[in-house]
C-alpha cells in the first residue's frame, strides 16, 4: 500500500517522529478497545459463566457444571425452536435477496441517470424507525385492521369473518421481516453489480453471447459475493429476532429470540438456560461470520 511507504518515509525523517508514531498506537486504540473489553467482551464472558453455572441468579452453593448445556443439546425443545427460527430466517433472506437483485440490477446496469437518487429512495425507509414500521403492519394486518376492514367495506368479505391469519402468525412475522430488511439488502448487491467491468459484457456480446448467456456466465458469477453478503446481512439479525415476532407473531410466530427474552423475563427466570441459548446463537453466528467474512467486506473498505 502506497500510503504506508509514504508514511514510513515521513516517520523516517526523524527518530523522534518515528517513535511518536509507534507510541501513538496504544494511545489511539486504548480507549476504544478498553471500552469494548469492559462493555462487550466481558459481558459475553459473564454469559458464558452463567451457562456453566459458575455464576447464578440464586445465591447459594453451586458448582461448575455442563448439565444445562447437556439438557439443551438433548432436550430437543429449544433446538427445535432454533431450527424453526433458522427456517423462517432462511425463507425471509432468500425472498428478500430474490426481490432485491432485479432492483439492484436495474439501478446499476440500466444506465438510468438518477441511479443514486433512486437508490436513496429505496434505502430511506430502512433508515427510519424499525418499531414504527412494524407498528404500521400491526395497523394494516389486524382483525380490525386496514386490510380486513377494507375488504369488508368493499364487500369482499363479511365484517364478522376477517382473515385472522394475517396477524399473529408465522406469515406475519416473515412478511414484516422481509419488509423491514428489503431496502437494506439492495445495497451490497448494487455495489457488486456496479463493480462488474462493463467491457466484459461487451466482450461477451462481441463473441455472440446472448444477453441471458452473458448474464449467466459473466454478471451473475461476478455479483455473487454481493449476493452472499446481502443474504447474511439479513439472515444474521433475523435469526435472533424477537421484537417483530413479539409484536405480530402471536404463539405460532414465536421465535428463538423470544425464548431467550422470556428466560430472562419476570415470569419464570432461568438465567442459566437463557445464557446457554444466547451463547449457542452467538457461536452459530460467529462461525457463519468467520466462514463468510471475506464476502461481508463487499462494499466496505476493510481496514488493513
Amino acid at each position: 500500500m502506497s500510503a504506508r511507504t509514504e508514511h514510513g518515509a515521513f516517520a523516517g525523517t526523524s527518530r523522534r517522529g518515528r517513535l511518536r508514531a509507534r507510541l501513538a498506537t496504544p494511545g489511539l486504540l486504548g480507549l476504544p478497545l478498553g471500552w469494548l473489553g469492559v462493555f462487550f467482551v466481558a459481558p459475553v464472558c459473564i454469559v458464558a459463566a452463567y451457562s456453566v453455572d459458575a455464576l447464578s441468579l440464586f445465591p447459594g452453593p453451586h458448582q461448575v457444571t455442563l448439565s444445562v448445556w447437556r439438557d439443551f443439546l438433548h432436550g430437543g425443545v429449544y433446538l427445535h425452536l432454533f431450527w424453526k427460527s433458522v427456517q423462517m430466517s432462511l425463507v425471509v433472506s432468500t425472498v428478500v435477496v430474490l426481490v432485491a437483485y432485479p432492483l439492484a440490477y436495474y439501478l446499476a446496469l440500466s444506465g438510468t441517470k438518477r441511479k443514486y437518487v433512486l437508490l436513496l429512495v429505496l434505502i430511506a425507509p430502512f433508515l427510519t424507525s424499525y418499531l414504527l414500521r412494524v407498528l404500521a403492519w400491526k395497523v394494516i394486518l389486524g382483525n380490525q385492521g386496514v386490510v380486513n376492514t377494507f375488504f369488508a367495506w368493499i364487500g369482499l368479505r363479511a365484517a364478522d369473518h376477517p382473515i385472522s391469519a394475517l396477524l399473529y402468525s408465522r406469515f406475519a412475522v416473515m412478511l414484516v421481516l422481509a419488509y423491514v430488511w428489503l431496502p437494506f439488502v439492495a445495497l451490497p448487491i448494487f455495489v457488486a453489480l456496479e463493480n462488474v467491468d462493463q467491457s466484459l459484457l461487451e466482450a461477451a456480446a462481441d463473441l455472440y453471447a446472448s444477453r441471458l448467456q452473458a448474464f449467466r456466465r459473466v454478471t451473475l458469477p461476478l455479483s455473487l459475493p454481493g449476493v452472499v453478503a446481502a443474504f447474511l446481512f439479513v439472515f444474521i439479525p433475523t435469526v435472533g429476532e424477537f421484537i417483530t415476532p413479539s409484536l405480530v407473531g402471536g404463539t405460532s410466530g414465536y421465535m428463538y429470540g423470544n425464548q431467550i427474552v422470556d428466560l430472562f423475563g419476570t415470569g419464570f427466570p432461568d438465567w442459566e438456560t437463557g445464557s446457554v441459548l444466547a451463547l449457542f446463537l452467538l457461536v452459530v453466528i460467529a462461525v457463519l461470520t468467520g466462514i463468510f467474512a471475506r464476502f461481508l467486506r463487499v462494499g466496505q473498505t476493510p481496514a488493513r
Partner: protein
C-alpha cells in the same frame, strides 16, 4: 447494443422497481392517512379529518418526556461513539501494528452480535457489578452498538485523504494534536457529521438492547413498545409515528445531500 438489458427488460425492471417502492412506502402512507382519521380505531371506511391525535400527542407530557430522554441518550452515546471511532479509525487507517486484522475484527464485531444476546450480556454485567440500570447503562450499550458504524464511515474517508498533507504539517513542526486539529479534523468533518447522525438515529430507535438495561426512565422506543399493547393509545402513537418518520426521513435525505455537497467541495479544492 446494450449488453445488459433489452428495451423490454428495462421496461419490465422499471415497473418492478416502482411496484417495490410502492410496497415500501404504502405502510408509511397508511400511517399518515390514519393519523388524520377521526376514529379511535384505524379502520376503513375513513370517518373524517381531525388534528385531534396530534393535539393529544402534543399535550402528552409523558410521551414528550420519553422523546427528550431518547434525544439525550442518542446525543451522548453518539458523541461517545464518534470520539472512540475517530481514535480507532486513525489507528486503523494510519498506523501499522501487529494484530491489526484481529483488532479491526473486534472493533467491527458488534455489527454481527444479535442484539438480544448483547442485551442480556450487558444485563448480566451490570447485575454482577451491582450497577443499577438507568439511562446511563443504555448509553453505554449504545456506544458499543454505534462504534463500528462510525468506523465504517471514518476509515474510508481517512484513506481518501492524502497522507502528504499530514506529513507536511509534521515537517513544519506541528505536533500530533495540532496536526489533527488543523489538518485532519477539517478534512474528515463531513464524515464525522454522518457518523454522528448514524449513531444518533441508531440509538434513538434502539429497543432490543435498551429493553434489558433501561431503568425506570423510559426511552421513546421503550414507551412506544408498551403503548402498542394499549389499543386506546394507538391513534396517538400513529400521530407520533408520522412525526418521527417524517423528521427522520428529512434528516436522512438532508444528511446525504449535505455529505455529497461537502465531499464534492472538498474534492474540488
Amino acid at each position: 447494443m446494450d449488453a445488459s438489458l433489452s428495451k423490454n427488460g428495462r421496461r419490465l425492471l422499471r415497473g418492478f422497481f416502482v411496484l417495490v417502492v410502492v410496497f415500501l412506502y404504502a405502510p408509511i402512507a397508511v400511517l399518515l392517512i390514519f393519523s388524520f382519521n377521526n376514529a379511535e380505531v384505524p379502520a376503513f371506511p375513513l370517518s373524517g379529518f381531525t388534528l385531534h391525535w396530534y393535539r393529544e400527542f402534543a399535550g402528552n407530557s409523558e410521551l414528550r418526556g420519553t422523546l427528550a430522554t431518547s434525544a439525550i441518550v442518542a446525543a451522548v452515546s453518539s458523541v461517545g461513539a464518534v470520539v472512540l471511532g475517530v481514535l480507532a479509525s486513525i489507528a486503523l487507517a494510519r498506523r501499522r501494528f501487529r494484530g491489526k486484522a484481529l483488532v479491526s475484527a473486534l472493533l467491527l464485531s458488534p455489527l454481527v452480535i444479535p442484539y438480544v444476546v448483547f442485551g442480556i450480556a450487558l444485563l448480566l454485567l451490570f447485575h454482577t457489578l451491582g450497577i443499577p440500570r438507568s439511562i446511563v447503562t443504555v448509553m453505554i450499550g449504545h456506544v458499543v452498538i454505534s462504534l463500528p458504524y462510525t468506523i465504517l464511515v471514518l476509515v474510508p474517508r481517512l484513506e481518501q485523504i492524502d497522507v502528504a498533507l499530514e506529513e507536511a504539517a509534521y515537517d513544519l513542526g506541528a505536533g500530533p494534536a495540532v496536526t489533527f486539529r488543523t489538518v485532519t479534523l477539517p478534512l474528515i468533518l463531513p464524515a464525522i457529521v454522518s457518523a454522528f447522525l448514524i449513531g444518533f438515529t441508531t440509538s434513538f430507535d434502539e429497543y432490543a438492547v435498551a429493553s434489558f438495561v433501561v431503568g425506570t426512565r423510559a426511552t421513546f422506543p421503550i414507551y412506544l413498545y408498551s403503548a402498542l399493547r394499549f389499543p386506546s393509545q394507538l391513534p396517538q402513537v400513529i400521530a407520533v409515528a408520522v412525526v418521527v418518520l417524517s423528521v427522520s426521513l428529512l434528516v436522512v435525505l438532508g444528511a446525504e445531500i449535505g455529505r455529497r455537497r461537502a465531499e464534492r467541495a472538498l474534492g474540488a479544492a
